[in-house]
Symmetry: C2
Subunit: 719 residues, 2 copies
């Protein structure tokens, strides 16, 4: 495997910056300032056409004047002058670049052409670059910061790759106030050269990064993205916000980085397939990522909640319950231990509600330690730990009455901040999260932040972050992904498809579609194509009544409501009537399919659709008349492993229908797995197929059988 | 209507406080301090057994020593001494109290008994009180504050009633930093005397309160709560968080205020019925309430999004789309106007993305005003408006290089804060919400807060608050609630129930249940009870084949899977076989119901269950085999108006099944309405009925007909 291009780009020994001046109101200057001011120890070379020095550093007029070949070149210049500048660095041998310059594909066709030229130059000189239209990168370990804001004093364990520069730079101060710090952060821009999969791979391998967050507006190479993520998620949590799946979101995405926006549903599926936790808000992305980056892994669903007031305890418990976590009633023994420490009207059952109490030793150390030690919980959420923030409120309220007592003296009444608290998560190997209404002006809040204990400013949010940790527990523990081998191409199938293409068909007829499925092992209805009434009677005799009759033509993709189907035909008399009716509706040349009537009350669907950049994607879900009502489906990229299909079965809301249900037996899901895998494999083996739709798949007894099938061929059908 | 007891309690001319001293580490003292320090202009009388003065005010040893009868008495004393103290105020004629003291019902049986005595004393002296076990009240208009924290300098338009004291007092500073201010706030405690419905009614009538938020752990009198809320919500938004519907949440609620916890599902239904917006987090409760309290009403779903960076614009748009709002592409004309003002690579389509730009006049005034004026949007969300916070970051980064330029001089480069911005919502009569990563340290953020423009610290949150405003638009516009008259008791129905009770039945048999339903106009299957095979044959002949056969006994509540039913019996031969089989399974004494077979693919359910404090509640939803799979149901308190039933039809996910669907006709929902109303009315008229279960109700053609019915009688059945 070749080295990830970000290895060198994120760790340059020397950097040239093109576009910085001494005007502090200009982006390029502010960004160069970050390199100088934030502690980067490598060489810094400003390039400027006229200035002798830039920000106190000797400036060079052009690349060829530089005393050495810089590892990295950074461009913050108008797009009109970028190309020759990049080429000049190519010529001296610089191999990595960050192109902050905007004005490419995101602005329209002319910008797109310029982007192509960018690619040509980069390829010519083997330059790998981030951007264009990005805000830069951060590597906290070497204190390299190309963004416009200052980075935190200490490196943190959270890695970020973002398709919006705002979430890398505009939030740095915001995050500092929440105690959240990056290891590495990468603003990707238009991803002409280095893309989000590269960034993910890089962060996956980075030892200083303990959890990865991604802000995504579109993915170019879905297959590679899933492959890369699938390798990382078993040992390092990856969380993502995807924006762009809805009409307005997609438009915003397109005009922003020009990224291809895929639908929301697809991203739900691929994130699940890859083991990525999906979040729907920027704040959640940062804070849940921070919890996963800093806390020991969550090993179970049992949460201890310790508070000094009932409301937050109730909110946390409620939110835990709504998120598959539980707040178990403590054993009598444990309750007794706790009750010994609290007032008689307080409760020790879990949530522990000490009622209002300023004894922080008890609230934040003694009781938490008893609970953690008990073995009765897997995580702890605390609300109400505070000191200077709260006393400041009281003092400000009261100081007129206090005479000459200073705030510091007043504060001493509560005792110092107890440092042992911060060691609890490591000591007991379980996550500890803090809920508080006090910001970093409170010395406990500040100390939690400085000690990498996540702080949440509304009680339900702590529970929600824990829910993401629980989701990661299940991802970590899910069964091993074992790629299933692709079967060989079946030449009978090739024949079926070629036949149809020769006839310029836009789809296979139902009978041909089922023959195609059958050669790849998919169970389909027993059926015979009849051209005459006599043939139909003979077919029904062979299959056995009741039968179904359907007009069968590649031109008929949707049959219902047009008089083209007769179900439950009981005998020859009825068959003849049905045959004539269908013939009348369909026309004299259309053959009629005589089909066994499947018996079963459970109907599912399987299907395939292709998304640009993702290849064939397989859909599974509830079929029959409820298909559109509940849209209870799930999707994965082909090929499907057994893990994929089993997760698909668990993913639909109607999953209980697959089990022993209302006297119906457990569905043979191994057979369903084979159907879904076949749908994926057929699509991989036969790129001429544009779409597949198997609906319904009826569960007869315990066995799935395809009752109707549509295979659409490439070249969009008009119907 | 009698005056709301909170009118006087919240507006006392004089207050006595029992439990304050000169020790500033005691709750009572801190609370008394709030009265003195926050600007209350009425009389303040501390009661203390030994101190001559308390907090600088003359103290009295007992109530009877007071120079006047105080309007309000506040108690912060141990529960063991409370009762005689309350009585002493009763004797002098004080009619209102706030009982902060805890240690009552929430601590167990002994506390419950003490609570009963509290009630006795209050009734004896006609004292109305808030509490016990609460934190007090706030009336910003008269600057009355009984809580432990200081209130904001200016009164705000948001009213709060909370069953947790924490959310009234612990959050005051937190809210100040978010620009959120109360008009009135009430901590309800155990609600022994004044309850949440009283508080809601009071806030509904309060002219200074423009929106109401409720934190609820349980409701004692559900009927009254809904009645009160239903009258307020057409003209004033009410938002609520309910916590307690899940196992852990319920336990926390119980131990906290001792409130009865009803299930989550019930509260979803009654909030919808009452027109209350339900939220699931404390932060959302405050911030969405604040948006509704401060902004002009939202009149449509079209949102203009104006930013200086693409990411936040995409996140806001995406979140709008996910919440039934839309971000329409601007007309060419409007886009052109905007493009004239922004850089060429920026976009004016909506979201407007100026790209990074510090021209705040354009971003925050010129472009917003053009968009508001255009008539193309109903609301505006802006991201990126900032000044001193951002420049402070740059300055801190750069000041070494700036020489002796002070921060103030540096700041002048950006021009002053533009004040016209804050008038935009009123001027154009539409909501304007701000998304920013800058806290109140930034002068724009602070100015927005001071001018009652809601600020959100993550872009998706602004969109989510707007979604609550849109929800309120629909509540405001929903059809008028017209109470349906209760029909008279039908004596045939009384007879059916009395017969069953005399026989000590725990339920009616299916046939009797349907007769009961039929007398109240509910359409049921045609059916005849047969004791012998001969009678069954005759019955089927009369009804017409195919028929259904069912064992019919009050002891058989659930028939499926036990051989007690035969469906689709086609002819006499099959009927005889089915009759014998069922007789064998059910026993020789059990009569058999011969029933018409309804034809229809759509199956719904209706039902009734009673919740303590709420009376009969009617359930409607999807029936048949998917009942447990999707749990697609909704609930309302009886009696039901036509508005209620129509909202129930719109509330289920499978609502499209009620329309013209896959060739099936539009369901006659007026007939479904009559069924649901009848279920409610029957339950109100016949309190002996504990539960009703009509499942399935089959849609035959367009008409709903009850195919199976269970009516459970009071006294819990064992089965």
């Amino acid at each position: 495997m070749s080295e990830n291009p970000l290895e060198l780009l994120m760790n340059p020994r020397s950097i040239a910056v093109v576009g910085a001046s001494n005007n502090l109101m200009k982006m390029g200057t502010i960004q160069a300032l970050s390199i100088i001011q934030d502690g980067y120890r490598g060489k810094f070379y400003p390039i400027h056409p006229s200035e002798k020095t830039v920000l106190g550093h000797k400036a060079y007029t052009k690349a060829s004047d530089l005393p050495e070949v810089p590892d990295l070149a950074v461009f913050i210049v108008p797009s009109s002058v970028l190309l020759p500048l990049l080429e000049s660095f190519g010529k001296i041998g610089t191999k990595r670049a960050v192109i902050i310059t905007g004005g490419f594909r995101e602005t329209g066709a002319a910008g797109g052409l310029m982007e192509n030229k960018l690619t040509e130059i980069a390829e010519k000189y083997a330059i790998r670059f981030v951007g264009p239209n990005c805000i830069g990168i951060i590597n906290s370990q070497i204190r390299l910061n190309l963004t416009i804001a200052a980075i935190a004093k200490n490196p943190g364990p959270l890695g970020l790759a973002s398709q919006s520069g705002t979430f890398v730079t505009q939030t740095l101060t915001y995050l500092k106030k929440r105690g959240i710090r990056f290891s590495k952060a990468i603003s990707l821009g238009n991803e002409v050269n280095i893309d989000i999969a590269d960034a993910l791979e890089f962060l996956g391998a980075d030892r200083k990064t303990k959890a990865i967050i991604l802000y995504i507006e579109g993915i170019r190479d879905g297959q590679r993205f899933v492959e890369v993520a699938r390798k990382i998620t078993p040992y390092k949590p990856v969380l993502a916000q995807y924006v762009g799946g809805t009409a307005a979101g997609a438009r915003a995405g397109l005009s922003h980085t020009g990224a291809m926006a895929g639908p929301d549903f697809l991203f739900n599926g691929i994130f699940k397939q890859a083991g990525i936790i999906r979040l729907h808000g920027i704040e959640d992305l940062y804070t849940h990522g921070w919890a996963l980056a800093t806390q020991p892994p969550l090993r179970g669903s049992r949460v201890g909640v310790i508070t000094n007031s009932g409301g937050p305890g109730a909110v946390i418990s409620n939110s835990c319950d709504a998120n598959e976590l539980n707040v178990p009633r403590f054993s009598e023994k444990l309750q007794k231990e706790i009750r010994n420490l609290i007032q008689t009207h307080a409760t020790g059952a879990n949530p522990v509600d000490m009622t209002f109490d300023l004894d922080m030793r008890k609230l934040a150390l003694t009781i938490p330690e008893i609970v953690m030690k008990s073995g009765e919980v897997d995580a702890l959420i605390m609300h109400g730990v505070m000191r200077s923030g709260f006393l400041r409120e009281v003092y400000d309220h009261a100081h007129e009455m206090l005479g000459d007592v200073s705030f510091d003296d007043f504060l001493k009444g509560l005792g110092p901040v107890i440092k042992e608290i911060f060691a609890l998560p490591r000591k007991y190997k379980m996550p500890m999260l803090i809920s508080t209404f006090m910001d970093q002006g409170d010395d406990y809040t500040a100390a939690f932040m400085n000690n990498d204990i996540p702080v949440f400013f509304s009680p339900e949010k702590a529970a929600e972050a824990l829910a993401s940790m629980y989701q990661y527990k299940r991802i970590r523990e899910r069964r091993h992904h074992k790629e299933a081998a692709l079967p060989p191409v079946n030449f009978k199938a090739v024949g079926i498809i070629q036949d149809a293409l020769k006839k310029r068909q836009k789809a296979l007829d139902e009978h041909a579609a089922k023959k195609l499925l059958a050669v790849y092992g998919v169970p389909v209805t027993e059926e015979i194509l009849a051209k005459t009434e006599k043939e139909a009677v003979a077919a029904a005799g062979k299959i056995g009544y009741p039968v179904a009759l359907k007009a069968c033509s590649p031109k008929i993709m949707h049959k219902s409501g047009k008089g083209l189907i007769a179900l439950n035909v009981e005998d020859e008399g009825n068959l003849k009537i049905a045959f004539r009716n269908i013939r009348q509706a369909a026309g004299p040349q259309i053959p009629i399919l005589v089909q066994e009537m499947l018996k079963g009350n459970r109907e599912f669907l399987a299907g395939m659709t292709r998304f640009a950049g993702f290849g064939p994607c397989v859909v599974f879900g509830l079929g029959g008349i409820f298909t559109e009502i509940y849209r209870d489906t799930t999707i994965r990229l082909a090929p499907l492993s057994v893990r994929d299909t089993e997760e698909m079965f668990a993913d639909i809301r109607s999953r209980n229908l697959l089990h022993d249900f209302r006297g119906m037996p457990q569905v043979k899901t191994d057979k369903l797995t084979k159907i879904l895998q076949a749908v994926g494999n057929i699509s991989l083996l036969h790129p001429e197929i544009a779409e597949i739709d198997l609906n319904p798949i009826i569960i007869q007894g315990a066995n799935p059988v395809v009752a109707d099938a549509l295979v659409v061929l490439a070249g969009k059908p008009e119907n």
